[in-house]
């Protein structure tokens, strides 16, 4: 297991800061950036998947019932899904933390 960023000294870094483990950016929690999150209204959702297609972060998952929801680890709350939704079933709500 590699050290977390806070534990790394300059001596631990690889030459040129090359990353030897491909795809480890997936561990980065971009969900921390979010101040608003999308919420789906299942009454209006026609399960078309437009939100899933347009999500720039692949942060929307399909549920077993065929509806959609966001992956809170990655969703930055950009609101593109709200903009693109055909039926207007997605609304942004403020994070209350």
């Amino acid at each position: 297991m590699i050290k977390s960023e806070e534990e790394l000294s300059w001596k631990d870094l690889h030459v040129g800061c090359v990353v030897y483990e491909p795809g480890n950016a997936s561990r980065y929690k971009s969900g921390d950036w979010r101040s608003n999150r999308p919420v789906w209204d299942k009454e209006k959702c026609i399960r078309c998947g437009v939100c899933y297609i347009f999500c720039p972060d692949m942060a929307i998952k399909k549920t077993d019932e065929g509806y959609f929801e966001n992956d809170l680890y990655y969703c930055k709350g950009c609101g593109i899904c709200v903009q693109e939704c055909i039926t207007g079933c997605i609304k942004m709500v403020e994070e209350e933390e």
Binding site: E5, L8, W10, K11, H14, V15, V18, V19, P22
Partner: protein, 392 residues
């Protein structure tokens, strides 16, 4: 030893790059670097040099291509000047932070404006802090030798940093000199096969040029600084080995008649030869004058420099670049700063001269010496610098 050929320095430089068995050349022509690129292009087109010559659309692209080719493990060369360097600026810094061992000749030319194609050091001083190893040369032979040196140290796994070989535009690029070529077997002995520390290879994927959050950026910069500082022993070793092989001995700081000198000139690049004529003349008049030539600009050779000026009373720093409204020319301000708190700190006078190719003669340097004698009796302040020969 290799044969001596009378040849234009730029053509010899291109042939040194060929003899160094370069794999990729990506460059855009710009005066006064043009003959180097043209000759490399010719050598590739004629089948004499088995390399990729990539005629890019700009210097920004040139350095970008160089980063790519160096990252896949190809021995990579480029060269530029002045505005071309300014255009590639962004990627120059990235090449160093990625620790890519690219070699670049910088045919030093003033930065516009007024638009000028002539020689000074304003271009290289604009990228002083780019993180590359930076050396200066005084004549065509030194350029030739330092191309071999540059590849050797850049690619050393203990270094893995890009190298700039500074070569004064026109004064060096466009003159014909006798150049002693190295025998190919000597080159091959001096320059082992390039085995990069990191390489882009689909079978062993790595990521280069990734994001650095505030939590890691300081560590990344510290590591880069240490890498540049720690390259010095390897540079000295490479110069020593070159001396053993070809009989020319280079050092980070070189001196001429500095034994017992009370006043020394400090130069970088081709003006060192003119200064040496002035020093000979002053010595013949019985004046205790010597000369220091800074070959290695980055990493700065602090120890060697302090040793060279020990006991010296006056240093005449020749700057060929300006730091507008700053504490003297870029060279003088560093010299004053590194001497701060030294015992018996010498008086440092600073002349900005040879800007955009204006001739500076041995008589001019003798005049600077005489003015320094006079100035040093008064108070020379840190911010004092003199535009030598400017018409009032």
């Amino acid at each position: 030893m290799g044969k001596k050929i009378g040849i234009e320095n730029s053509l010899a430089a291109a042939e040194a790059v060929m003899m160094a068995n370069v794999d990729v050349v990506a460059a855009y022509p710009i005066t006064p670097q043009t003959h180097i690129v043209e000759h490399l292009s010719e050598l590739v087109a004629d089948g004499e040099l088995d390399a990729e010559f990539i005629p890019v659309e700009s210097e920004h692209a040139a350095m970008s291509v160089c980063c790519g080719s160096s990252a896949v493990g190809a021995r990579t060369f480029t060269c530029t000047s002045s505005q071309g360097l300014a255009l590639m600026n962004e990627i120059v810094f990235i090449a160093a932070s990625l620790r890519l061992p690219i070699v670049m000749i910088l045919a030093n030319r003033s930065l516009s404006g007024p638009l000028s194609i002539w020689n000074d050091h304003t271009d290289v001083m604009s990228i002083r802090d780019c993180g590359w190893i930076q050396v200066f040369t005084e004549n065509g032979q030194e350029v030739f030798d330092h191309i071999m040196f540059a590849f050797r140290v850049a690619e050393s796994r203990r270094v893995s940093l890009p190298v700039i070989v500074n070569m004064d535009g026109f004064i060096l690029t466009h003159v014909i000199e006798p150049i002693e070529y190295w025998d190919q077997e000597i080159v091959d002995k001096y320059l082992p096969e390039f085995k990069p520390v990191n390489v882009l290879d689909p079978d062993h994927p790595v990521s280069m040029g990734t994001f650095g959050m505030p939590g890691i950026f300081t560590e990344a910069k510290k590591a880069q600084d240490e890498a540049l500082i720690n390259s010095k022993p390897e540079l000295i070793r490479a110069w020593q080995e070159m001396g053993d092989l070809v009989g020319r001995h280079y050092r980070p700081v070189e001196t001429n008649q500095s034994e017992g000198a009370e006043t020394v000139f400090l130069t970088m690049g081709s003006s060192g030869e003119t200064v040496s004529i002035a020093v000979d003349e002053l010595r013949s008049q019985g004046k205790p004058v010597g000369q220091i030539k800074l070959r290695l600009w980055r990493p700065f050779p602090f120890e060697e420099f302090r040793d060279a000026v020990r006991g010296v009373k006056r240093i005449i720093v020749i700057d060929r670049a300006i730091s507008y409204g700053g504490p003297g020319g870029p060279l003088a301000s560093e010299i004053r700063s590194l001497l701060y708190k030294e015992d018996n700190m010498p008086v440092v006078t600073n002349f900005l001269c040879g800007l955009a190719g204006r001739d500076v003669t041995p008589e001019n340097y003798i005049d600077m010496y005489n003015r320094t004698e006079k100035l040093s009796k008064g108070k020379v302040r840190e911010e004092d610098y003199i535009f030598y020969g400017v018409r009032e």
